[in-house]
Assembly symmetry: C2
Homo-oligomer: 326 residues x 2
């Protein structure tokens, strides 16, 4: 009798939460465990929680460790996929050059991998979501930052070191506003939630009138992209203007991707993209103005289909891809 | 006895010259024909010259039309590779939606293809030049404009419509100087030969002193990138400053490519790149400042190895690729 293909474990490690799932080879979710990251407790405690959540997920699926084919953790970049190192994690204090897959592999005696969270989401959406059957697509997440993943010729493309698709750090405005990466004029510094909050705060600080300030409880620091979105929905002119500016920048970044990659599809996810037509309408207009006609006429701009589980599903899928190659 | 693989024809159609070559399957050049484009005579006459040069090249190789496996023309973008249309050609007046491969195929009764000239150069350098054995590379040509081609996983990547890698029209300075494509702040409008000439003219027109003006025969319009390069080599401060500005922009565009694609190699060709260390020294410095450490530590920046024949060789190679797939 042929030995059936073993299930795999996907872990989505975020700044707030760790989601862990066991998946059968056809993508069926066999179990799902949710726990808080509590990153402020430092890497050692978080790694213990990751390991515990993997064990719980395996147990919940009615399986044993030795019945699992492999484990993959999707983590926020920058990571070194080849060497399996989390070089740094923006929302996880004190994570520096941590060989997470090696630590997991040693403990579980199983193959373990690391993948960028946006790459994992791209792979998830390509395998089971909005991008099924689409050979060339770009996934982009617009939230606090901007991240991305690319599927080229039906495969995840993540470059020689596994760190490609750093879409958020494409410079689109030389000498523009400062980015959290330390450079200026990055896509992320202009079109992310962080950028929307900053643009509104700057204008309110200069004395412009807006209900944004009231919605933030009259505390400048509390003005965030969510506050701006709420004010814009109420027709506030400053908020609408800021959303339009971000949409224009978003369209330009997307146009750059269209001109460079001529993809069949761009999937736009992330919290900020949920502003809907208010943001995406002017973003599409700007994109059309800045992209060439032929690739623009081809590309489909769509929403993700998998929601918050895209990274988790993609991480599990990554194990299958890696194990097929190995 | 197995029928040996037939030779193929590559044509490099430029604004100034048409170069045509017949190649054996191992890349050996069997013949090479050079003729002037004389684009001002219009498309019909140029197409006749292309056809005549193909016949001459076949004849010079001691072959007949029916011994040829296929023909490919490398042409300046924008082109529609799938439909075989030259949509427009910047340096060829009145070329609009011309189905060049169909016209050649009909006449020669042979498979005929169309490829972007920078894509062809990328393929040529990958197959027989500086990029041999390199699976993931970007070829970029910096001359009057900026063009590019990408090899991904050992294959030419040119997107869904065959118009990917429009590197020159990646916007890197929103609201920056106008580009010949009509948009503002394109990479090409900041780091090409055209940009270098324009930056020098603008400053001379504002009254800045420079030998650039004298070298151009005291005619502002005659200041070109070559004039600026000559003046910079003589130590002219304005010229050196303009070259440094272009180098900084070049480095930022290259950094964007490194952050997006994490390639193993970038091959930089084109007339402007021949300025050498004067341009490439500060360009590398700027690139290092704007790219992430890991992908920057991996990428090799090299010169092309095939010279002006890269496009021709790549066009011939494109026939072999297409015929293998078909």
């Amino acid at each position: 009798m042929a030995r059936s293909k073993p299930p795999v474990v996907g872990v989505d490690l975020g700044g707030t939460k760790i989601i862990t799932g066991v998946f059968a080879h056809d993508g069926t979710m066999l179990s799902r465990i949710y726990c808080l990251t509590l990153g402020e407790e430092g890497p050692a405690r978080v790694i213990e929680r990751i390991k515990a959540s993997i064990d719980q997920a395996i147990d919940k699926a009615g399986l044993q460790r030795n019945q699992i084919g492999g484990i993959c953790v999707a983590a926020p970049g920058p990571i070194d996929t080849n060497r399996g190192l989390i070089i740094q994690a923006p929302n996880l204090p004190r994570w520096r050059n941590i060989p997470l897959p090696a630590l997991i592999a040693e403990d579980f005696k199983l193959p373990a991998f690391l993948v960028n969270d946006a790459d994992a989401a791209a792979l998830g959406e390509h395998s089971y979501g909005a991008g099924r059957g689409i050979g060339n697509l770009i996934y982009i997440t617009v939230s606090t930052g901007i991240g991305g993943g690319m599927i080229i010729n039906g495969e995840l493309y993540n470059g020689i070191d596994g760190c490609a698709a750093e879409i958020g750090h494409m410079i689109i405005m030389i000498d523009g506003p400062i980015c959290k990466c330390g450079r200026r004029g990055c896509f992320e510094a202009l079109a992310s939630g962080t950028a929307i909050g900053r643009m509104a705060r700057e204008r309110v600080a200069l004395g412009e009138k807006s209900i944004v300030f009231d919605l933030a409880g009259c505390i400048l620091e509390n003005i965030r992209s969510e506050t701006v979105a709420e004010a814009a929905r109420k027709g506030d002119l400053l908020a609408l203007d800021v959303v339009h500016a971000a949409a224009r920048y978003l369209g330009i970044g997307l146009a750059n991707l269209v001109n460079l990659m001529n993809p069949q599809m761009i999937i736009i996810g992330g919290g900020v993209s949920k502003m809907g037509a208010m943001l995406m309408g002017p973003a599409r207009k700007s994109m059309k103005e800045h992209a060439f006609k032929l690739p623009m006429s081809t590309v489909h701009i769509v929403k993700p289909a998998l929601g918050t589980d895209a990274g988790l599903i993609g991480a599990a899928e990554y194990v299958l891809h890696k194990r097929m190659i190995v």
